[in-house]
Symmetry: D2
Subunit: 339 residues, 4 copies
Amino acid sequence: MLIVMKADATEREIDDVLSVINELGFRAHAMPGANRTAIGITGNPGSIDPTRFENLPGVAEAIRVTKPYKLITLDLRPEKTVVRVGDAAIGGEELAIIAGPCAIESRAQAFAIAETVRRSGVRFFRGGAYKPRTSPYAFQGLGEEGLKILADVREAYGLKIVTEALDEAGVDMVERYGDMIQLGARNMQNFSLLKRAGRSHLPVLLKRGLSATLDEWLLAAEYVMAEGNYNVVLCERGIRTFAQHTRNTLDLAAIPAVRRISHLPVIVDPSHGTGKNYMVTPLARAGVAVGADGLIVEVHDQPERALSDGAQALTLDQYEALVNEVRAIYEVIAPAHVG
Amino acid sequence: MLIVMKADATEREIDDVLSVINELGFRAHAMPGANRTAIGITGNPGSIDPTRFENLPGVAEAIRVTKPYKLITLDLRPEKTVVRVGDAAIGGEELAIIAGPCAIESRAQAFAIAETVRRSGVRFFRGGAYKPRTSPYAFQGLGEEGLKILADVREAYGLKIVTEALDEAGVDMVERYGDMIQLGARNMQNFSLLKRAGRSHLPVLLKRGLSATLDEWLLAAEYVMAEGNYNVVLCERGIRTFAQHTRNTLDLAAIPAVRRISHLPVIVDPSHGTGKNYMVTPLARAGVAVGADGLIVEVHDQPERALSDGAQALTLDQYEALVNEVRAIYEVIAPAHVG
Amino acid sequence: MLIVMKADATEREIDDVLSVINELGFRAHAMPGANRTAIGITGNPGSIDPTRFENLPGVAEAIRVTKPYKLITLDLRPEKTVVRVGDAAIGGEELAIIAGPCAIESRAQAFAIAETVRRSGVRFFRGGAYKPRTSPYAFQGLGEEGLKILADVREAYGLKIVTEALDEAGVDMVERYGDMIQLGARNMQNFSLLKRAGRSHLPVLLKRGLSATLDEWLLAAEYVMAEGNYNVVLCERGIRTFAQHTRNTLDLAAIPAVRRISHLPVIVDPSHGTGKNYMVTPLARAGVAVGADGLIVEVHDQPERALSDGAQALTLDQYEALVNEVRAIYEVIAPAHVG
Amino acid sequence: MLIVMKADATEREIDDVLSVINELGFRAHAMPGANRTAIGITGNPGSIDPTRFENLPGVAEAIRVTKPYKLITLDLRPEKTVVRVGDAAIGGEELAIIAGPCAIESRAQAFAIAETVRRSGVRFFRGGAYKPRTSPYAFQGLGEEGLKILADVREAYGLKIVTEALDEAGVDMVERYGDMIQLGARNMQNFSLLKRAGRSHLPVLLKRGLSATLDEWLLAAEYVMAEGNYNVVLCERGIRTFAQHTRNTLDLAAIPAVRRISHLPVIVDPSHGTGKNYMVTPLARAGVAVGADGLIVEVHDQPERALSDGAQALTLDQYEALVNEVRAIYEVIAPAHVG
């Protein structure tokens, strides 16, 4: 914590701030400058709320210095975590791709898509059984019926099942039928849900919230890890900005930013990140080129009839082309990636 | 829904779009223009996903026209709803004020603040027993112990208790001890929680999410109402923008915008909306002047020792001055308000 | 400036940072902590680019502390500046209102509106002769012809003329015909224009840019003042956010934020700040209630035929009602205002 | 334009809107629906201001359909424009790279960097002689002296010179010494400057404004083209969002979005787009992978001593590695690119 005093702060005001710091049991470092005095604080075990000092007389600003996370940091663990999902992995040497429909709509649909996903050599299958929908009148997913179809897809094709839990009861269900719990953007700060996922034996795919700062996102992962579940994969899926040409603005700079701080693997969702079919492949290429550990993409055998998010779903042909393109790019950047 | 065709769309492509619309059972209205053709769609029972048409050949854009909400609208109910909380009300003739600490920290703290709140003639007391905190290592609230203190405050001072539920179990608890369920910004699209609150007999205070559009916020209220609970009060509490001089950007234009569409009462939270003590009173005045039905403000008897959000809490003296100022403004604008 | 070292920074890396600081002629203050070392810098005459240190080995972050402005600050001048425009003033005891059409369209239009403005007792008349338009094909203003009409309005009604300059030649023209130079949001960082306005004898109305931080806005005022023109009035006119229910998001928290740092008067533009007729009056009330020194509003005798921005212009009747409402609020908050 | 009537709009109100449309000389298409009536407008020569209709009684919303640009569109010119700069080009078969320091600081600095740029086979050299700086007290560039150094670099190395003009006089200067006029983000809607550049014989590099929508950016290009200069290259350089881990948020989805509408070439600036040295190379890779026609990057022989933007400048070694990486990616995606 750094306290910046006002230019006209009195000696008395500076002394009072020093006293408060000492009373709290921390160590104060006064730094008189030409125009104003700054006071550093050390010795605080965790992070201090900067605003606690901002209303003291003579204080211009209080600036937080220490970051409030521990478990997600490279300080704790300098090598990248490889999250294992059965015999597959995210964060390892191979580019991880998770593909499938937005929502499971029927057995026929799921199998048609899984057939193609399997043939492409991809290891993970996605599909929502419980769908978070902005409107209460929109299709809400097949529920447990959808999960059973997913379990059958796993059986038939050997794909790992990644599917979303909307609440604590949902985590129970994913544990019964799936391989990896997806926590959605709207639930990134649903702390009860984060804690429940933290007590699961399944790995967690944690999507970034629409307006989450990097710190908030990493602290959401910290919530899961603080409960004992260290198998967390982060997923950048676009943030909300003024821009209207995409549904969200895919923030690819988040990938190197996460890398610089955390050992957790991070993947990119170009489907939700853009919301437009024609943008998915270019942004998937960009996501791999920027250094992501993988992608999650929506594929549908009949996008024009999809019950949700049809506009962004790739056709089976587009999907196959995408997989080829991103693998070629991954090969080119592999040295940078590993380095 | 309006489909805009590309300038170079062929007759064939236009006919294909018309066919798709007819197949879906809707009515198509072609409007040939000088440069391009537009096609209106009517007869759709609910809202159509615009993106469903955007990938058809020859289509430039698909624009949603019908809004996807029903129960919250002035179309359904032209007069403003008055939400009754026992013998108090929000949305009626009197300016509603909800005041109290961010978190209940102790019986002594709660009673000291409630004493002042009561004396000011204000009817609602706020205080968190379960706190949503960005960091897992921050103070998470007293839990049921805090709710018991709140119930005692009600007993002692006759104040209505407004307190947050973080999950479905939390709603059970608020039903046991409180008078009004607060749903926080981070949970605005926690659909399981919205549905549970919609089955409660208590009124709901629904805060706007940090990056929620007006439509998303109103649809969150629609989720609660669709379950049968029509006693919903909306609360503007600031949105996330690039601006750094406040914690959030209080979007006061949301108040007239809600008014123009919905019969639900709407209040303003200048404490979270700014995050800075010195901004709370000016923005509270502005919130009343813009036409809000009430305010929710954080007050603390010792803000510099608050366990959470101390920097934005008003002192007891500041609180009393605020109440006087906003009541004077409310009197001035009352005619505009009622009109 | 504060340099935060990484947790695993070596002694050598810390020494190297200290050396760089000393070489630059500044004073370094090392603050070893439990987990990491921070280093304060004092003795720097102006502001240092924090990023200069961020690439040094072992550095986690560099945080700017000293603000880069001088002339606009309360440190320099503790009382609020009253900007005089002939015998009228902005920032004084009276609420300043600037009213008139978006663009001057004809003598008849200008006089019809000015007649009403004059009758309301308001002292300032606005009207654009050179219009910044997003599209090159939109109405660009009457040019010098418009300025001549404005000069005639001044002659006939004694109103002070506030009008926009788009470039350096435009400042020459406003100096010939007007009383106050308006610099628009799109030009807030047109530094050549700021410097030219800084060499004018006329006062300057400086609108905030659509995505300007508080610091950038204040530094734009600093550009004008650094050339010798101290008569600057700031104007909040809405920022660009994700919200779509208004054209811009009026950031009223900027008013107390400016007040806390600067002696310059600050007014609010609820017309551009919302872009919707029905929002202008509520937000004008809020702008006065939050503590602004004045308002700038668009009025038109026939808004539905306006050549630009018709949708946000008030009718003459709406304008008169607004003036009454905001004056009543100003009276209520005058003590807070002065204090 | 599409007018959506309120659910309770009367026949009379609908008729009135139809009359207004007819009076304006356009054609009205009424579309009665189950809940409400919509009215399409065709026959309008240009774009209509939607807000003109929004205040008419019974109108719920007015939605613009026709886009207000002409010259930049694929409708006008279906193949991508190749902008020629002497014997070099942007938008052709080769990936275009523009490299050099943020600001020209000395002959020695410029030549040291140009030497490396030339050796890498890159054709364009950047360097600012007039620098737009947020603070009036920051280094403002060498002025004409800097341009002379740039002219010497061209002479010595055969590189094409890309440099910024801040005002109309600056365009005169760039015409004298340079090969391509850069218009900066802060000046994207400086319409006087756009028009002046539109009358130049030099090609224009038009950076996107920090808060510019896609339409506003394309209309800024339309301003240049409307004056007769068709040689415009667009440059995505990051937008302003709430995210704080980068200086700006690089919006790579803008590349396919531009492609879908316009024939103009578009490049990416990963240096300003991130503001962090460690992010430049990953985002440069992503920019090429997403399909940009080129890159503009900042390189410095001694970044830690740069007079501006040192933190984002690549070292000479980093620059050489970047060129190799992005060329490898460009080769992989070339087919997609051309297609």
